[in-house]
C-alpha cells in the first residue's frame, strides 16, 4: 500500500459509500459487485491490476451468495475497496493473501452492520407507527430518507475503518515472502472452493448441472490452449 493522497483516500471513501449503498438500498446497479468495486478502487488508488486481482478474488466469494429473502450475507463492496487499497502498488502474488484476510474480515463486519441498520430501520418505523396508520405520506418519505442516510453512514464508516486497518497492516504487519505467497495461495484456493461450492449448490441435480460441467470442460480446454 502506498501512502494514499488525501484526495485518493477521500475518493475511496466516497466510492466505498456508494458501493455500500448500492448493495441493498439504492440504486442496486451492481457497482457493489466486487469485480466492479475493485477495478474502480484500483483505478482510484492508482493500480488497476491490484484492483482487478482483488476484485475477481472477492467476486468468487460473492458468487457463493444468493441474496434471497431475509438471508444474511457478507457485504463485499466496502471490504473490496479497503482490500484494494492495501494491495495497491505491491506485487499481487505477495499482497493478495493479506488483502483477502482484511477484506473478508471487513465483509463479515459489513454483513453484521447491515443487520444493525435493518434493526434501526425497524425501530424508526415503530416510532412512526401512528403517522403510518394515519396515512401520512410525509412519514413514509422521512423514514425512507432516514434509512438511506443510515446506510450511507454505514458504508462510509466501513470504508474508513477498512482504510485505517489497511494503513496499519501496511505499516506494521511484516510478512516474509514465503508466508505472503502462502497466504495468497490459500486465499485463491478458498475463493475457488467458494465459487465451486456455490455453483454446485445452485446447479442442483438438474440440467443446469450438466451445463455447469460442459462450461467447466470448455473453460479447462481454453485455459490449456492459451
Amino acid at each position: 500500500m502506498t501512502d494514499l493522497s488525501a484526495t485518493s483516500a477521500l475518493l475511496l471513501v466516497l466510492w466505498g459509500t456508494l458501493v455500500g449503498l448500492d448493495l441493498v438500498s439504492v440504486p442496486q446497479a451492481m457497482i457493489a459487485r466486487p469485480v466492479i468495486a475493485g477495478t474502480v478502487a484500483g483505478w482510484l488508488a492508482g493500480d488497476i491490476e491490484a484492483g482487478l486481482r482483488v476484485g475477481v478474488l472477492f467476486e468468487l466469494f460473492a458468487l457463493d451468495v444468493l441474496p434471497v429473502g431475509a438471508v444474511r450475507y457478507p457485504d463485499y463492496g466496502p471490504a473490496t475497496v479497503a482490500a484494494v487499497a492495501l494491495a495497491a502498488d505491491s506485487p499481487w502474488e505477495f499482497s493478495l493473501g493479506l488483502s483477502a484476510a482484511l477484506g473478508l474480515a471487513l465483509a463479515v463486519l459489513g454483513g453484521f452492520s447491515l443487520q444493525l441498520v435493518r434493526r434501526a430501520n425497524a425501530r424508526a418505523i415503530q416510532h412512526r407507527t401512528a403517522a403510518l396508520a394515519a396515512g401520512e405520506s410525509s412519514a413514509i418519505r422521512q423514514l425512507q430518507y432516514g434509512s438511506l442516510a443510515r446506510d450511507a453512514v454505514r458504508g462510509a464508516a466501513l470504508t474508513l475503518l477498512g482504510l485505517a486497518c489497511a494503513w496499519g497492516l501496511a505499516r506494521y504487519a511484516w510478512l516474509d515472502r514465503s508466508t505472503a505467497l502462502g497466504l495468497t495461495l490459500v486465499a485463491v484456493g478458498c475463493a475457488l472452493s467458494a465459487v465451486i461450492g456455490g455453483a454446485l449448490r445452485g446447479a442442483g441435480r438438474g440440467p443446469r448441472l450438466r451445463w455447469l460441467g460442459a462450461g467447466a470442460l470448455v473453460g479447462l480446454l481454453t485455459a490449456a490452449l492459451r
Binding site: M30, I48, I125, Q144, G189, G198, A199, L200, G215
Partner: protein, 244 residues
C-alpha cells in the same frame, strides 16, 4: 393517473427501508406515493386508506416490485375493496420473490458476472466492467418499466398477466446459460491466478480448494467458505510463526 415516471425512479430505492418487520413495505409505499397523488383530489378518504395499505408488510424481488406497485395503485383507482387489495399484495409476495430470485440472482447476475470474469482474465478489462454494468442495467431498467406498466394496466388481474409474460420462459433459459458461463469461468480464473505463481505451488491451492468444497459441504451453514478461509489464513500465519 399521473406520477408513473416518478414512481419508476423511486423503485430504484424500493429496498431503502428494508427491515425484518415490514421488509419492503415502506419502500413500496414510497414508490406508490406519486401514483396515488391524484386520488387525493378525487377521494381523500380512499387516498389515506391507500397510503396506509401501500406501506404495510410486503416482500418480493426488488426488480419486480413495480408489478405490485402498479397493480395495487390501479386497483385503488378502480375502487376495489381494501381487503381484496390486501389479499392481492399477500398473493404477490411469493411468486414475485421466487421469479425475481430465479431470473436475476440465480440467472442473469451469475451469467453476466461469469462473462465479466472470463473477459477480465482474457485481458478485456474496462470493457468487461462497462459491458457488465451496461447489460445488467439495461435488463433491469427494461424490466422495471415493463413491470410498472404491466401492473398499472392489469390491476387485480396482474397474476394472469405475469403468467402469460416472458418472465417464466426467460427464467427457464437463463439458469442453464448461467451454469455454463460460471463453469467456464472457474478454470480460467484459477489459471489466471495460479499460472504466474507456478504449477507446483498451484497444486497446493487446488488442494485447499478441494478441501474447502468438502469441508464446507460437510459442515453446512456452520462453516461457511468465508469462515473456512479466515480460519485457514490464521492457521497458516500461526504455523509460520511457530515454525519459521
Amino acid at each position: 393517473m399521473n406520477g408513473g415516471w416518478q414512481a419508476w425512479l423511486r423503485l430504484f430505492a424500493v429496498q431503502g427501508t428494508w427491515n425484518y418487520e415490514r421488509m419492503l413495505g415502506v419502500g413500496i409505499g414510497y414508490a406508490a406515493e406519486p401514483l396515488l397523488e391524484d386520488l387525493k383530489t378525487v377521494d381523500p378518504v380512499r387516498h389515506t386508506e391507500a397510503v396506509v395499505r401501500s406501506a404495510e408488510f410486503f416482500n418480493c424481488h426488488p426488480n419486480l416490485a413495480g408489478l405490485a406497485v402498479g397493480a395495487t395503485a390501479r386497483a385503488e383507482y378502480d375502487g376495489a375493496p381494501g381487503a381484496q387489495i390486501a389479499r392481492l399484495r399477500t398473493a404477490l409476495c411469493s411468486p414475485l420473490g421466487a421469479l425475481g430470485d430465479q431470473f436475476f440472482w440465480a440467472g442473469l447476475v451469475p451469467l453476466l458476472v461469469g462473462g465479466t470474469l472470463i473477459a477480465a482474465v482474457l485481458g478485456v478489462r474496462w470493457w468487461a466492467v462497462f459491458g457488465f454494468l451496461a447489460l445488467y442495467n439495461l435488463a433491469r431498467v427494461a424490466t422495471g418499466v415493463w413491470a410498472l406498466r404491466t401492473g398499472l394496466d392489469a390491476g387485480m388481474r396482474v397474476g394472469s398477466a405475469i403468467a402469460q409474460s416472458w418472465l417464466s420462459r426467460a427464467t427457464e433459459r437463463v439458469g442453464p446459460a448461467a451454469g455454463f458461463v460460471v463453469g467456464a469461468a472457474i478454470p480460467l480464473v484459477g489459471a489466471w491466478y495460479l499460472e504466474p505463481i507456478g504449477w507446483p505451488a498451484a497444486f497446493g491451492a487446488v488442494a485447499v480448494a478441494a478441501t474447502g468444497v468438502a469441508v464446507t459441504r460437510w459442515f453446512g451453514a456452520s462453516l461457511t467458505t468465508v469462515r473456512f478461509t479466515l480460519l485457514a489464513l490464521v492457521l497458516l500465519v500461526l504455523f509460520r510463526w511457530v515454525l519459521p
